[in-house]
């Protein structure tokens, strides 16, 4: 999921995808075509939902858009810049919330992770705000594995919006 609006105040659209394709090489040497040929543009401040049956490449598409996975053809641009790594200002709410939250950190520390270079009062204040945004006040010192799946996903959202 992409948090739109933080970037892309220039003239060009926020995201431009041109003839994006992605092939995997599996262990036995066979080639899997995960994404065939995808093109679209997305303006700042708008929402986009990608829908499809399981295994059709939605996660692969998002990982390519986030710069977490190199694509094998075409181009992805953020505010006109081709992406190489995860772009500045992009936040990701991972699908696998049970695996992307760190089980050794409590909820507050998980949410504070993106702010680790900020001074402590700033971290605390912004984490508290993010947690109240997802209605998780009072769960700051719980561990993720003590929460329900939905609550874990909300922690993950709080971590994405905290920066």
């Amino acid at each position: 999921m992409v948090e739109a609006g933080a970037i892309g105040q220039t003239g060009s659209p926020l995201i431009e995808v041109e003839h994006l394709s992605k092939q995997y090489l599996s262990a036995d040497g066979r080639v899997t075509q995960a994404i065939g040929d995808v093109s679209f543009t997305q303006d700042a401040g708008t929402f986009l939902a990608v829908v499809g049956p399981s295994g059709c490449g939605k996660t692969t598409l998002l990982k390519c858009l986030a710069g977490l996975m190199p694509h094998t053809g075409g181009e992805v641009r953020y505010s006109g810049e081709p992406i190489r790594d995860v772009p500045e200002g992009l936040s990701i709410v991972f699908q696998e919330y049970t695996r992307s939250l760190m089980p050794w950190l409590d909820v507050r520390r998980n949410v504070e992770f993106p702010l680790r270079h900020e001074p402590r009062p700033v971290r605390a204040e912004r984490a508290a705000r993010a947690l109240s945004y997802v209605h998780l006040e009072g769960f700051e010192s719980h561990y993720p594995w003590q929460l329900s799946g939905g609550m874990q996903q909300r922690v993950s959202i709080a971590r994405a919006i905290v920066s």
Binding site: L68, V86, R99, M102, W104, Y143, W145
Partner: protein, 268 residues
């Protein structure tokens, strides 16, 4: 499954009965030892009571600072060096996989050498010193920590690396904030094995070119046929090993609260 208060109470009662039976069994074993010793059938089994007297003599006499405490010190320092070194090198080797082809064969060979085999070499090179014994202990205790740290690091969920990239974490931050805590349960499992090895090597290293320590005390007492004192040394080593295990288990539980909690939730 919900259990009624009745079955829960009977469970507690059964557990305390078990505890009582286990305790009386241990006491019975000690009583047998005492009786056999008192009977004086063989000089090799002095009664446990005279061993106990010897233990208290050692703990209140000059041997406490000459033999007992130095042994504990060597064991703990060797264990500490092995733990820090093994964890550090193991995380590096697990994380920077390009090092593997260079390090694999030498490490495989060196770790196959039984640690006592390097003792004569250590005595020759470093002399019969405190540092030499600590070095031998650290050498033996190093391997389980190293191997567990390598494997723990390799099995860190790759998902965390995506998370780290999203927030622009540096290599150092990834190691310190993700790899180290994620691999810690396995590192501590290696440390538990290392602790037992450290104690074995403490005793052994004090039996060669030594003039102090619990290992020295046991060997020297045997040579002088002071069997009460020899048994006292053996008993104290047993108690020390047991204490190490108990204390380490407590520390492990504290440090890995999150891991135990998560596992408990998943398994039960």
């Amino acid at each position: 499954m919900t259990s009624s208060p009745l079955t829960e109470r009977s469970l507690i009662r059964r557990r305390s009965t078990q505890h009582a039976v286990a305790t009386s069994f241990s006491l019975a074993l000690l009583a047998v030892w005492e009786l056999v010793g008192q009977a004086g059938l063989t000089p090799f089994f002095p009664p446990i009571s005279s061993v106990a007297v010897e233990v208290s003599d050692i703990l209140t006499g000059p041997q406490l600072t000459r033999d007992v405490l130095p042994s504990l010190g060597r064991a703990l320092i060797g264990f500490g060096v092995a733990s820090v070194g093994g964890a550090t090198l193991g995380i590096c080797l697990g994380y920077f996989r390009s090092l593997e082809p260079w390090t694999q064969s030498p490490l495989e060979f060196i770790r196959s050498v039984p640690p006592p085999a390097v003792l004569p070499l250590a005595v020759m090179v470093m002399g019969p010193t405190y540092t030499m014994r600590v070095a031998v202990i650290a050498f033996g205790a190093f391997w389980p920590v190293l191997l567990n740290a390598i494997s723990g690091t390799r099995h860190v969920d790759p998902m965390y690396f995506d998370v780290a990239r999203t927030w622009k974490a540096s290599s150092w931050e990834i190691i310190r904030r993700l790899v180290f805590p994620a691999a810690l349960p396995q590192i501590m499992a290696g440390m538990r094995i290392a602790l037992a090895i450290a104690l074995v090597l403490t005793v052994l290293s004090e039996m060669i070119a030594a003039s102090s320590g619990l290992g020295y005390l046991v060997l020297q007492s045997q040579r002088l046929f002071a069997l009460d004192r020899m048994y006292a040394g053996v008993v104290m080593l047993g108690v020390v090993g047991w204490l190490f295990t108990v204390v380490f288990a407590q520390i492990e539980r504290r440090v890995l609260v999150w891991y135990e909690g998560q596992k408990g939730l998943r398994d039960g």
